[in-house]
C-alpha cells in the first residue's frame, strides 16, 4: 500500500482581526493510501475540513499555513507548489464534493454545461466529445434519463440528484483522490444511503482514493478503510476501521462512539463526553433500559383530520394545491413523548406549526382541555400560547441577537404576567438559567457569546419560563454535535421527569426519536403512514416506507464488512 497523499505536521491558523490568531489545525499528520477510503471524523471546530481543504489549498484568505507543514502528492509539496500546478491538479487529479449541492452548483448554467466545463478545461475535449462523455457520466452516477437531464438546470433536480451531478463532475477526469466534505449531511437518510453506495461503487470501479469528511460515525464505519479521529485541531487517534471501532484506544474516540443514541438500547441517560474525560477513560456503566412512561386515560391533546393545503398561483386563473399535511390525526398524552419522523417535505414540521398556530390549518380540529385550538381568537389563544411551547432547530437563528439572555428569559414572563415584579422575574430567569446548566455569569451576555449547545439551553429555558405543559421539539438537536446532542437530550429527559411535560419530538434522525419517544408517527408526503408505540415500530415496521427508512440508517461498523 503506497501513499497517494501524505500530510505531515500540518499547522493552519486563521487571522481574526488585527492581533487575534486562532490555531485551527495543530500538527496533523496522516496518509491517504492509493485505492482506499480514509475518513476524517470530528465535531465542528475539530479542523477536519481545514485539513482536507489544505490539500487543494482551498482555504480562506486569512489562513496562515505554517512553513514547516508538508502535503506531498506526486512528488511535490502542494503547500508550496506554484498556483498553476495546483490549478492543473484541482478538478483533475484531486476533486472535491461539498456538503451543499444546492449552493455548489451554479444556478444559471445547465448541469451538462457545468460537467462539460471540467472536461473542456482539463482534457481538451471537443464540445461534441464532451457532450457524449457528460451523458456517460450522468448514466454512471445513476441519474434517470441522462440524455434529457443534460439540459436541466440545477433547480429542476432533487437534492440527491444535485449531489449526483456534483459527484459526476468530480469523477469526470478520473481523479486519483476524491475529497468528499460531508457529502450526505444535507440529504435525507434514504438519499444518503444511495449516495454512500454510489461513492463506494465508484471508488471500487475507478480505483481512486476517497477522503471522506464526516461527523457521523455511523456513516464512517460503513464506508471507511482507515479512520482519523480529530478534536480541536489535533489527531486523537488513527488506524484501520476495525481497530478504531472494535478497540478504540483514545478516551475521546470511545466517548464519541458511546454518546450517540443506539437503536438497540434505551438507557436512562446517554453517556456524555465529560463522563469519559472525567472518569479517566472508564465508561460510566450504562443503567438499565428506560421504561415507557405511564399513559393517562384521556389524551392531553387530540388532533383530528388536521390538514394544511398551500395554494400556489401557477397562471392567471390557475391554482395548484399542495398538501403539506393531509388528514393527520394523533393524540398526545400527558408526560409522554410523541415522536414524529419523516424526511424533508414530509410535513412533520408543519404539524408542530399547526399546533402552535404559527401556521393556520386549512381544516381539522385540535382538542386541548375541551377547547378547539384552531377556532380560538388571537386573544383566547394567548392563554394556550403559554401552555404549548416550541424549541426550534437552529439555536443560532431562534434567539434575537440584540437581546441579552436576561431579556430573552424575562420577556415571556412579562407578556404572560408571570412573576410579581421585574426583580422577581429577573430572579426567576437566573434560577432557570442555572437549572438548564448555563454558567452563572450568562445573564447579561448576548447569544453570540455562547456555543450551539448553550444556545439551545437558552431556548429551552425561555420555554420553561412559561411553565408549559407541552413542548414541541422541532429538530431541536439536529444542528448540534453528537456529544452536545447527548447532553441536551439528557437535559430534556430530566426536565420531562421534573415538570411532567409532554413532548412532541420531531426529527429526521431515527435513532434520536427511538431514544426519546414513547409513541411515534411516521410521515411520508404529508400523510401519517404508520403510528404506534415506538418500540413496536422499530421492531416490526408494518408500512413499506417505514421499512425503507429503517434500512437506510447507517449501520456503523460491522465486523467482516469486506
Amino acid at each position: 500500500m503506497t501513499g497517494l497523499v501524505s500530510v505531515r505536521d500540518l499547522r493552519v491558523s486563521f487571522r481574526l482581526g488585527k492581533r487575534r490568531i486562532v490555531e485551527a489545525v495543530r500538527g496533523v499528520s496522516f496518509d491517504v493510501p492509493e485505492n482506499a477510503t480514509v475518513a476524517l471524523v470530528g465535531e465542528s471546530g475539530s479542523g477536519k475540513s481545514v485539513s482536507a481543504m489544505s490539500i487543494v489549498r482551498l482555504l480562506p484568505d486569512n489562513a496562515i499555513v505554517d512553513a514547516a507543514s508538508r502535503i506531498d502528492f506526486g512528488g511535490a509539496n502542494l503547500l508550496t507548489a506554484p498556483i498553476e500546478t495546483l490549478r492543473r491538479i484541482r478538478g483533475k487529479d484531486i476533486t472535491v464534493v461539498f456538503q451543499e449541492p444546492m449552493s455548489s452548483l451554479n444556478p444559471v448554467f445547465t448541469v451538462g454545461y457545468q460537467i462539460g466545463e471540467v472536461l473542456r478545461l482539463h482534457l481538451n475535449l471537443s464540445p461534441r466529445q464532451a457532450a457524449d462523455r457528460v451523458v456517460e457520466l450522468l448514466t454512471e452516477v445513476g441519474i434517470p434519463e441522462p440524455k434529457a437531464r443534460v439540459d436541466a438546470y440545477p433547480h429542476e433536480l432533487s437534492g440527491g440528484q444535485q449531489q449526483r451531478v456534483m459527484i459526476a463532475m468530480a469523477i469526470a477526469c478520473e481523479p486519483k483522490l476524491l475529497i468528499a466534505d460531508e457529502p450526505t449531511t444535507a440529504l435525507d437518510v434514504t438519499v444518503q444511503r444511495q449516495i454512500l453506495e454510489l461513492v463506494a461503487r465508484l471508488q471500487d470501479r475507478h480505483r481512486m482514493s476517497v477522503l471522506f469528511i464526516s461527523h457521523d460515525l455511523g456513516v464512517v464505519g460503513e464506508i471507511a478503510d482507515h479512520v482519523v479521529v480529530m478534536r480541536e485541531g489535533v489527531v486523537r487517534e488513527q488506524g484501520p476501521v476495525d481497530r478504531i471501532f472494535a478497540a478504540p484506544q483514545d478516551t475521546y474516540t470511545r466517548a464519541l462512539l458511546a454518546c450517540r443514541p443506539r437503536l438497540d438500547a434505551k438507557p436512562k441517560r446517554l453517556p456524555v463526553i465529560d463522563d469519559f474525560m472525567a472518569g479517566g477513560g472508564q465508561p460510566i456503566v450504562v443503567s438499565e433500559n428506560r421504561a415507557p412512561r405511564p399513559q393517562e386515560a384521556k389524551p392531553l391533546i387530540e388532533a383530528k383530520g388536521l390538514s394544511k393545503i398551500y395554494r400556489l398561483k401557477t397562471g392567471l386563473f390557475q391554482r395548484k394545491s399542495i398538501a403539506a399535511v393531509k388528514e393527520a390525526s394523533f393524540a398526545l398524552w400527558r408526560g409522554r413523548t410523541l415522536g414524529v419522523v419523516g424526511e424533508s417535505g414530509s410535513g412533520k414540521t408543519t404539524i408542530g406549526m399547526l399546533l402552535m398556530r404559527l401556521v393556520e390549518a386549512t381544516s381539522g380540529e385540535v382538542r386541548y382541555d375541551g377547547a378547539d385550538l384552531l377556532k380560538l381568537t388571537e386573544a383566547q389563544m394567548m392563554a394556550y400560547r403559554r401552555r404549548i411551547q416550541i424549541i426550534f432547530q437552529n439555536p443560532y437563528a431562534s434567539l434575537n441577537p440584540r437581546f441579552t439572555v436576561g431579556q430573552i428569559l424575562t420577556e415571556p414572563m412579562k407578556i404572560h404576567r408571570i412573576g410579581a415584579s421585574d426583580d422577581d422575574r429577573f430572579e426567576r430567569a437566573v434560577a432557570l438559567a442555572r437549572r438548564v446548566g448555563l454558567p452563572a455569569d450568562c445573564i447579561h451576555k448576548y447569544p453570540h457569546e455562547f456555543s450551539g449547545g448553550q444556545r439551545q439551553r437558552i431556548a429551552i429555558a425561555r420555554c420553561l419560563s412559561m411553565q408549559p405543559e407541552v413542548l414541541i421539539c422541532d429538530e431541536s438537536v439536529s444542528a448540534l454535535d453528537v456529544s452536545v446532542q447527548a447532553t441536551v437530550l439528557n437535559l430534556l429527559l430530566d426536565l420531562q421527569d421534573e415538570f411532567g411535560m409532554s413532548y412532541l419530538f420531531i426529527s429526521h434522525d431515527l435513532a434520536v426519536v427511538k431514544y426519546m419517544a414513547d409513541d411515534m408517527l411516521v410521515m411520508h408526503e404529508g400523510e401519517i403512514v404508520e403510528r404506534g408505540p415506538a418500540e413496536a415500530i422499530y421492531e416490526a415496521p408494518q408500512h413499506e416506507y417505514t421499512r425503507k427508512l429503517l434500512q437506510a440508517i447507517p449501520t456503523g461498523y460491522r465486523p467482516g464488512r469486506r
Binding site: K18, R385, Q393, P401, E411, I443, H444, R462
Partner: protein, 348 residues
C-alpha cells in the same frame, strides 16, 4: 416549579459588552473610520460654533476689496475691483444743464452729501481665502454655508428615514393589501422625476429652510422604504421572530422591539448615505433658486455665485465651497462605510 422559585443571584455577573459597545470597539480598530470620524466631528464642532456665532458670525461684512484674491496668491492686479470702483460715468462730461431741470440743485446736494461722514473701513487687498464680488470673506462664507448645508442634509435625512422606516416596516411586516398600497404609493413617487416633485412641493410650500428640509424628506424616503421593507420581509420569517410569536409577543412588539434593532445598522447606514445625497441636493436646489433664501448662505448658493465668477477667472469661491464639501462628504461616506462594517453582525 419549586426549583425555579429559589432566588439566587449570580455573584458579580459581569455586564457583557452590548451590541453597540462591540461595534464601537470594532470601529476603534478601523484607522480610516477613526480619521473620518475625527473629520466629521471637527465639522460638527465648527457648525456648532458657527451656530452660536463664535466663528463666521460676521460673514456678511464686506471686509475686502471686491474679488480680493486669497493671501497665498499674494496681491496681484485686481482689474475687476478697479472696474467696480470706477463705476462712475466714463468719457468727457457733457453739459446738459440747460435741459436738466434739476441742474441748479446739484451743487447744494453735493454740499449736503459731503456733510455726512461716511466712514467705510479700509478694505483689505487680500483675504485668507479671497473675497467674493462684494468683498465678503469666502472662508467665513464657507463655514456659515457648512452650517446651513449640513443642517439641511441631516434634518432632511431624519425626516426621510422616519417616513421610509415606518412605511417600510408596515409594508414589509404586514404585507398583503397594506403592502400593496405602500408599493403603489412608492411607485407613484418614483415614477415622477424628482426635480418635478421638488418643484411641485416648492410651489405649494413656498421658500424657506424648513421647506427645503421637508421637500427633500418627502421626496427622498423611497430608497429607505424599499430597503427597510425588504429587510422586514426577510426578518419576519426568521426563527427568532417566530419564537417571539410563539411566546405570545404582539405584532407591534415583534415589529419594533424584535426586528427593528436587528436592522438598525441598515437604517443607520442608509441614513448617512441620505445625508450625503441631500447635501448635494440642497446645492442643486439653491443653484436653481428653490433652496435656501437669498439672505442666507449655503454651499449651494456659493456654487451658484461661483458660476459667474469663474468666467472672469475668480475661482476661489468655487474652490472653497468644493473643498469644504468634498472633505466633509468624503469623510462622512468613509465613516458610513466604517460604521457599516462595525455594525453588521454578519461581518464578525
Amino acid at each position: 416549579m419549586a426549583a425555579i422559585a429559589e432566588p439566587v443571584l449570580p455573584d458579580e455577573a459581569p455586564r457583557s459588552q452590548g451590541v453597540w459597545g462591540a461595534a464601537w470597539t470594532r470601529l476603534k480598530a478601523d484607522r480610516v473610520g477613526m480619521v473620518s470620524l475625527a473629520v466629521v466631528a471637527a465639522f460638527l464642532v465648527l457648525i456648532l460654533l458657527s451656530a452660536l456665532g463664535v466663528v463666521a458670525g460676521s460673514w456678511q461684512l464686506e471686509r475686502g476689496v471686491p474679488y480680493a484674491p486669497p493671501s497665498f496668491l499674494g496681491s496681484r492686479e485686481n482689474v475687476e475691483a478697479q472696474a467696480i470702483d470706477l463705476a462712475g460715468p466714463m468719457g468727457p462730461p457733457v453739459d446738459i444743464s440747460d435741459i436738466d431741470p434739476l441742474a441748479p440743485k446739484y451743487e447744494e446736494w453735493q454740499r449736503r452729501a459731503r456733510e455726512i461722514q461716511v466712514t467705510s473701513p479700509p478694505r483689505a487687498e487680500t483675504l485668507p481665502f479671497g473675497a467674493d464680488r462684494w468683498g465678503r470673506d469666502v472662508l467665513a462664507k464657507a463655514v456659515k454655508g457648512a452650517q446651513m448645508s449640513i443642517f439641511v442634509g441631516v434634518f432632511a435625512a431624519v425626516v426621510a428615514t422616519f417616513i421610509g422606516t415606518l412605511l417600510g416596516a408596515i409594508g414589509g411586516y404586514v404585507g398583503g393589501r397594506v403592502g400593496d398600497f405602500f408599493e403603489w404609493l412608492y411607485n407613484v413617487f418614483t415614477s415622477v422625476p424628482d426635480i418635478l416633485l421638488i418643484f411641485a412641493f416648492a410651489a405649494v410650500f413656498g421658500r424657506g429652510i424648513s421647506t427645503v428640509v421637508l421637500i427633500l424628506g418627502l421626496v427622498g424616503w423611497t430608497g429607505m422604504y424599499r430597503q427597510v421593507r425588504a429587510e422586514y420581509i426577510k426578518h419576519a420569517s426568521r426563527e427568532y421572530v417566530r419564537a417571539a410569536q410563539a411566546i405570545g409577543a404582539s405584532h407591534l412588539s415583534r415589529m419594533f422591539v424584535h426586528i427593528l434593532p436587528n436592522i438598525s445598522h441598515v437604517v443607520l447606514v442608509r441614513m448617512s448615505l441620505l445625508v450625503v445625497g441631500f447635501i448635494k441636493a440642497e446645492v442643486i436646489l439653491s443653484f436653481l433658486g428653490l433652496g435656501v433664501p437669498i439672505e442666507l448662505v449655503s454651499w449651494g448658493t456659493m456654487l451658484a455665485e461661483a458660476q459667474t465668477e469663474l468666467v472672469i477667472g475668480k475661482w476661489w469661491q468655487l474652490a472653497a465651497a468644493t473643498l469644504f464639501m468634498a472633505v466633509f462628504l468624503t469623510a462622512f461616506s468613509m465613516l458610513t462605510d466604517a460604521l457599516r462594517d462595525a455594525l453588521d453582525p454578519k461581518l464578525r
